[in-house]
Symmetry: C2
Subunit: 307 residues, 2 copies
């Protein structure tokens, strides 16, 4: 089944201990879409400016991603300049220029309305809710958010959470959203707000999914997926969105979403995140094969499974 | 096979967000020994003072732990007073009174010399090396250390590492020891110093074991074991030593130490650590059954394994 990602397409200038790049194609919908494209058909709704040209378009088309929903607006594309030190989990933002993204009002093209899987990238929860209404036939809705919205638009976010099936955020965000210092307690509170599942991401330690009682079949235990211990994280940018793309792309590729499928999706999310950080920007995600992805999946299994 | 633990026996006063206790029985050899006692015969070498009485002795005897190697010295037993805030990984030390531990010179009783498995708790690496020499027939030697020795006794520690088979420390300590910010690179450097395996502990995210090339059979991938996402960590004290006790106790209970046995030992380590933090001091570790331990092992498996 196909998947629709709504989020940002951006240019990123990034400095890490491994090097630097300027005006590299990025944005949540880009990382998500590329990662998901190895599993299923992907459609994108985002906004770009005049500086988005054929070279950038080709990145999507080469992966078979449908960008008919990519809105062109006069002005420049969203630009972010960030720097990472030794800790890949802490980006220092040097500059954020919202540009055309400032007035982004996602419009879902008629030909996208029947998309079964929907991913709401990290944008204003008001816009996420608006997209959700336009896509009220979606079978499964995944969503992301961040501290900016948790602290600044809490009421609207809580409303939006009612119509999100799987929320994917990091530990700190989950604890902030629930106002709880223990992750399992925070997870229960977040699940009481609406989502059927909460995926919390722990950076180099992997991720844990918590299920709402009775959701996606029986059982009440959470499930933990690893990441690959990497010698070098060249560029952490987009790891979370790549996780989301692998996770939801795999879900969309399966007939039924049950607990076992969700567990494997956690592994595929980790796999795509681990590829993303091996090179700057989306470079690694542009040139993978499904075989390489499944080889790494096998390594993830070996890394965590007893005989 | 039996196991000998050399380390501290102490009284701890502990404050956490869940409550407080005073002069609770603690120390690395105590946590380690109790955790290991569910798997195999345990012997202990440590030093205590006049304030260590029948009540404390009984804690060991009830678990069948042989404390004939427990030296009595005039004076008071090692005392620690610590406090934890919301972060269970960060203890604030309010007081440390070494007392009789200050002049501890571990002497291995003749009847302990044939013990097959040896655990060198977190003591001066010079003393660890000395014990190792007295136990030169040991089949497998596990060891712990901390930032205090890594920074203050580096040369001696590097010497001692040559005669330790499995080093068990936390991430920060491994990176500090190797002077590397990436954990896999740090692991390779530490393994080049002598150990055949390095177990790194990640607190609430579990633990990872890295193997030296060719050690314990074929394969080169590390292995990651989880912990249980707990609603409440009542008292984090001793989690690492309890991990060590579960890990090495299980190893000692098996005929052969190969990679599969080491993987299961990682799970048992996590299981014992997760029990330890559920109650203050060693209380939870005193009253378990092997059945409860194996039930939790099954939960750990469910938490991480695909079908």
């Amino acid at each position: 089944m196909s998947i629709l990602a709504v989020g940002s397409v951006a240019f990123d200038s990034i400095e890490t201990p491994s090097g630097k790049v300027e005006r590299e194609l990025g944005g949540s919908a880009t990382y998500f879409g590329l990662a998901a494209s190895y599993f299923t058909d992907v459609r994108i709704v985002a906004v770009v400016g005049d500086d988005f040209g054929p070279e950038q378009e080709a990145v999507f088309w080469r992966r078979g991603i449908d960008i008919r929903g990519l809105e062109r607006a006069p002005g420049k594309t969203f630009f972010w300049h960030g720097e990472y030190g030794a800790d890949p989990n802490a980006a220092r933002t040097r500059a954020t220029e919202l540009n055309v993204f400032q007035n982004f009002q996602p419009k879902i093209p008629a030909e996208y309305r029947d998309t079964e899987f929907l991913f709401l990238g990290n944008i204003d929860p008001r816009l996420q809710a608006d997209v959700r209404r336009q896509m009220n036939g979606a079978r499964l809705v995944g969503g992301d958010t961040m501290n900016y919205w948790i602290n600044g638009s809490r009421q609207q976010l809580v409303e939006t959470l009612k119509v999100i099936d799987v929320l994917m955020i990091n530990d700190t965000e989950a604890k902030m959203l629930a106002r709880e210092s223990s992750l399992p307690r925070a997870a229960r509170k977040v699940l009481a707000m609406g989502p059927k599942a909460l995926v919390t991401k722990h950076g180099e330690y992997g991720s844990t999914v918590f299920f709402r009682e009775g959701a996606f079949g029986i059982g009440h235990h959470p499930f933990r997926a690893p990441t690959l211990p990497l010698d070098e994280v060249r560029d952490p940018t987009g790891a979370g969105d790549s996780f989301g793309g692998g996770f939801m792309g795999y879900l969309a590729s399966q007939g039924e979403v049950n607990r076992e499928v969700l567990k494997r999706a956690m592994f595929y999310g980790g796999v795509m995140g681990s590829f993303a950080v091996e090179a700057f920007g989306t470079r690694r995600l542009q040139s993978l094969t499904r075989e390489q992805i499944d080889e790494r999946f096998a390594i993830f299994r070996e890394l965590t499974h007893l005989e």
